[in-house]
């Protein structure tokens, strides 16, 4: 058992989403602690995107409840939006805006005080080693750089939680490792990371992972514990043992 004194940042109880007669997310319950890297795993169509959309205030829950950063997702979605960061699998930056303009835009949207934006932008560009790319259009950046920039932009306003939706899609393994270094840094600063992925090597990097099958959470523990429980050498094997029971077709 985790110590109860740790701050709970995300808490879901019997969280459910139905689309007509189809139950996309079926009464899931879990807690995520402050500064934790929480891996949210599942095959395509298992319901992880739907669950994440509910937690990030994009979609209303059909039943059950959840809190993010202390706010209720059903009644306080606007407050939640201000305290979270979000990075989509498409690294949603604007291709026709320069690097600093993208930073400026998202900083503005998240209400970072005007006089802090410029110094923080300088510091960020320095950390990323992007000093010379300040005025480069995002469309001419390599994919790995875009990914780093997208993540930096998502946590620029120092959110309590950052949601990462398959953040490493299409990026080579070296760049993925590199990217996880950034995630560790963010977690060390106290930002809780909630990431969906289907790269099982990435699951190993997480503090704890949950594995969703057909809308339900079938397993939730640290990667080491999970491997023991399922008597597997890798997370990939754990995942396959669980996913085999799936009856739902990928969407």
């Amino acid at each position: 058992m985790k110590s109860t004194t740790r701050d709970i940042v995300i808490s879901a109880q019997q969280l459910t989403k139905k689309f007509g007669r189809f139950t996309a997310v079926d009464a899931i319950s879990f807690d995520v602690y402050k500064g934790e890297i929480f891996g949210f795993l599942g095959a395509n169509g298992a319901g992880k995107t739907t669950a994440m959309r509910m937690l990030s205030g994009l979609s209303a829950a059909t039943s059950g409840r959840a809190t993010v950063a202390g706010y209720d997702i059903n009644t306080q979605p606007e407050q939640i939006k201000k305290t979270i960061g979000y990075m989509s699998q498409k690294f949603a930056l604007y291709d026709d805006l320069k690097v600093w303009e993208n930073i400026r835009l998202y900083a503005g949207i998240y209400g970072v005080p005007e006089k802090e934006i410029a110094p923080r932008t300088d510091r960020l560009l320095e950390q990323l080693g992007f000093e010379n790319e300040r005025n480069t259009m995002v469309k001419s950046l390599p994919l790995g750089w875009k990914q780093k920039l997208a993540f930096s932009v998502a946590i620029f306003h120092e959110p309590t939680v950052v949601f990462l939706d398959e953040p490493t899609g299409g990026v080579d393994p070296a760049a993925r490792r590199n990217f996880w270094e950034m995630i560790y840094d963010a977690a060390a600063r106290g930002i809780t990371v909630f990431a969906t992925t289907h790269y099982m090597d990435e699951a190993e990097y997480c503090d704890r992972v949950s594995i969703m099958v057909d809308g339900k959470i079938e397993a939730l523990d640290s990667p080491v514990q999970l491997k023991q429980t399922y008597n597997a050498r890798t997370m990939d094997e754990v995942f396959h043992q669980l996913a085999r029971t799936s009856t739902r077709k990928a969407d």
Partner: protein, 385 residues
């Protein structure tokens, strides 16, 4: 004794400020002006369209070549032919020797009208009061053919009136036709309001829907929706740049139509601008409605082109009079905003009428704007569920 002070877990969150909203609007302008082709199309399209439609797409028939079969060759036929020679609508190409040649002439496509006089034209006319002249036009283009025969009939009637203007017929009824507001039947009087309706609809609806669809395609819309920006703020920020561009286009179109196409602005310019702004709102709302329904730029583009442009061109009265449309289409034309806008523009620009005259169009356009904006904002929000 110790006191524990509990701090709120999070610092109080500040509301989105105005300059943050402006940053967002600025970004929209960057999207437009950094894409060279978009900029060129947005700013030049109205000019090109206006010139094309204003000068070329006209129902006026000028300089039509006329061939004549005249076995009589007398004073009356010569008088009629002189009328044709001096008319700006016709050029007398020459005489033919036999009616058999007529069909071959039309096939060559050079001749638009043939005049066939009966034999002993003047003699018959003077003695029996009857003489025949036949007008032959190419019916494969019915509009042109009827316009040509109408002009020709007028010329022949005019000649008859002049030559009959004799003392033995003191009581004569001569209808004098006067076309109010557009005495010279200029085509631009009809097309300029139509082109205005079309351009504003095109810029506003198509560009708004495409730009929102693009954000959905690239995934940035999702990021915006997760952000604290309210959907209404996103919508307004999207719409503001196109509103500005529409105002620029409106100015271009008005200046061009007045100074190049010779359109009058007989009524109040302020009223004209006012009603145009309302029409712009309607078009923007339509664009939003489309974008709330589609996820891809291509689909947005096609829907705007097919669902908006075709009805604007076909059913608004720009090309074909609404009165001539078959029942169902005429009924459909009532829901086309461009139709009401065109009616209002014509009333203000050409007839020089005041607000009372366009009150009906004003009310209709306003209700459409309110209806569409409500519907699109609702749909936009619904899509987030």
């Amino acid at each position: 004794m110790k006191f524990f002070i509990s701090w709120p877990v999070h610092p109080p969150v500040k509301p989105i400020k105005m300059n943050q909203f402006l940053t967002f609007v600025q970004k929209e302008f960057y999207h437009i002006f950094r894409d060279r082709w978009t900029t060129i199309i947005l700013l030049l399209l109205p000019v090109v369209m206006l010139i094309l439609f204003g000068f070329m797409m006209t129902t006026e028939v000028k300089n039509t070549r006329v061939a004549i079969f005249d076995p009589s060759r007398d004073i009356a036929t010569q008088g009629i032919i002189n009328k044709f020679t001096t008319s700006e609508y016709f050029i007398v190409e020459g005489y033919i020797d036999h009616p058999r040649e007529i069909e071959a002439l039309f096939r060559k496509g050079r001749i638009g009208l043939v005049l066939v006089f009966s034999e002993r034209f003047h003699e018959n006319w003077m003695h029996t009061g009857e003489a025949q002249v036949q007008l032959i036009a190419d019916g494969s283009d019915p509009n042109t053919a009827s316009t040509l025969t109408m002009y020709a009939t007028q010329l022949i009637n005019a000649y008859r009136q002049e030559s009959l203007d004799l003392p033995q017929t003191p009581l004569q009824l001569t209808p004098e036709i006067k076309l109010l507001y557009n005495p010279t039947l200029k085509g631009s009087y009809n097309f300029v309001p139509g082109v205005m309706g079309m351009i504003l609809m095109l810029i506003c609806a198509m560009m708004t829907s495409v730009s929102i669809a693009r954000e959905k395609e690239t995934g940035t819309m999702e990021v915006l929706l997760v952000s604290p920006m309210k959907s209404i703020q996103i919508i307004i920020a999207k719409v503001v740049p196109y509103f500005f561009i529409s105002v620029i286009n409106l100015t271009t179109v008005l200046v061009l139509s007045v100074f190049v196409l010779g359109m009058p602005v007989n009524g109040s310019l302020g009223l004209l601008i006012f009603i145009s702004l309302i029409y712009i709102f309607v078009s923007l709302a339509l664009g939003l409605l489309i974008s709330s329904a589609v996820d891809r730029q291509m689909v947005a583009l096609l829907i705007s082109a097919m669902v908006l442009m075709l009805p604007v061109i076909m059913l608004s009265g720009m090309m074909f009079p609404v009165e001539n449309l078959p029942g169902v289409l005429r009924w459909m034309s009532h829901v086309i905003p461009a139709k009401w806008y065109m009616i209002a523009v014509k009333k203000i620009m050409i007839e020089g009428l005041g607000f009372e005259a366009v009150a009906r169009e004003f009310v209709i356009l306003c209700s459409m704007a309110v209806l569409l904006i409500t519907a699109s904002v609702k749909r936009f929000k619904y899509r987030l569920e």
